[in-house]
Subunit: 349 residues, 2 copies
Amino acid sequence: MIGIIGGGQLGRMLALAGYPLGLTFRILDPKPNAPASYLADHVAGSYDDHDALSRFARDLTIITYEFENIPIESVRLLAQTCPVYPPPDALATAQDRLLEKQFFQKLGIPTSTFAPINHRADLDTALARFGLPAVLKTRRMGYDGKGQITLRTPGDIPHAWERLGQHPLILESLVPFERELSVLAVRGHDRTTRFYPLIENTHRDGILHRSQAPAPHLSPDLQQEAETYAHRVLDALNYVGVLAIELFQFGTTLLANEMAPRVHNSGHWTIEGAETSQFANHLRAITGLPLGSTAPLGTAEMLNIIGTLPDPAEVLSRPDAHLHLYGKPPRPGRKLGHITYCTRSTSTP
Amino acid sequence: MIGIIGGGQLGRMLALAGYPLGLTFRILDPKPNAPASYLADHVAGSYDDHDALSRFARDLTIITYEFENIPIESVRLLAQTCPVYPPPDALATAQDRLLEKQFFQKLGIPTSTFAPINHRADLDTALARFGLPAVLKTRRMGYDGKGQITLRTPGDIPHAWERLGQHPLILESLVPFERELSVLAVRGHDRTTRFYPLIENTHRDGILHRSQAPAPHLSPDLQQEAETYAHRVLDALNYVGVLAIELFQFGTTLLANEMAPRVHNSGHWTIEGAETSQFANHLRAITGLPLGSTAPLGTAEMLNIIGTLPDPAEVLSRPDAHLHLYGKPPRPGRKLGHITYCTRSTSTP
């Protein structure tokens, strides 16, 4: 049985992809109606409850995670008795925006200019160095645009400091990027590595809105550059599983923004749009099975369903539409599902 | 919540296809470890236990079935309080080989020559009429080649009669067909109907071994002929859901062998090989959602895994291989899973 820390939509889609491989699943998630709980064993405990952790871990063969805001101590504790993939170090790095940027820097992967901010004086020094606009972010617990404030004028600074100043922070220069991309890699235990084509992502209110794959106007050079950077991350972390790195494109330059050591929202199109989905490939990787082809099957566009549920009949009136609902009650700003539209190359042989 | 009578691999694949549509499932299956029980509510009762039937039916919005050998009385009882699709009449017809053949005949759909056999004298009369070789079959409860014996010489008759003579029987002339095909149709509540391309099937020991889709050398005329027959069946039964009809090809002639009012083993390739799988389309049909495209994505070959489990790593060493295991313990002659190999038309746009 595979253990998944977190029982959200990513865990749900992992389980859906894993049953055909003959796998069974147990999730750890404090929420009683977590999206994956309908189709997996469920330990409903908090991520730092040692009793829940030990009930979760019982008889598991492999543990993975689908959610990053879990105490790294819990993950390291679990790793003492059961292999955890991707490696806990990858999670520890991704959980802290400062460590993450320093990690990219150490590997020679370009990033925006950044500085750690522990005191108000650090902020002034950093702003004097790289000027406005800049983004002030909490080092930890940020996702979907939470925990970050863009500073455009000096007048934005006091409010931002008031809201975030009690946390360890990072200041990043605001890159005038042309577009956001992501690279999705999967690596097996034997270090075999496959890449999906780069994905172009559009955000709204800090939340992923739309992914297109392969990214329009994708040059082989750009794909190659992204793969080179991803390879460095995979090597440095002794990585096993799916890894996503979010990138800013800026002419022919790519800057690494952040990484996610897990299946990723920008890879949901792979369910129908690639020969093997990111979910199946993540599971193949961590269980030691050969990886599946990452070739795209035409082009795909994925739209997130956020906040309110659409009429499924309307969505599916396009015969190339694939609807994925996560079984969550609607709430503003919440990811409730996604729709993938596929355009195939000639469909009959 | 959708109720599925039967919790075998077809129920399991229905549930896997249905969660993304926001559906939840309850199965009725006497077996404690039925393949679908891992991912659905499970009422573990027998198909004729009224108490189990009523626990199963509680709060269901729609009932479907994935297994044909269920007492039709139970299905009709359930249909009094909850809509059942495909219509119970379709199941009643498919459960009895004689009714089924008479039904095809009434609709002008060609079949092999057949005769009801209730007494030994009927058998002699029928054999005198259409000669050997012929197949003696039980009218009911036959599947995967069970309950049928081929008569090639007069010496085969006494043994066959001894084994089957206590059941109501049907004798069918043995058609010297060139190949076996199946047509897979799906019809919605609004009578919208879509067809997958004809599938070529190869059996071993009476069990489906291999399906290829689209069937090699498929002419538009043959596809059209099969669709015409399927349309008659769908119309006559006021059908909703997926319907499979097994056909014998004989030059440019198609003879209907039997029908299955459910998702069908010969349609498993649609999971990766068609724009929308038979499982998703069956659920879309019965829940009143628009049907998805049935267009094939290249060519697909499906092989059943029967009796013994292969090494998954070996199966998946072909990067175009998709493995589907059903979570069943191995047993000779048992369908344990399937593998689909996909050959895509040009894979990048």
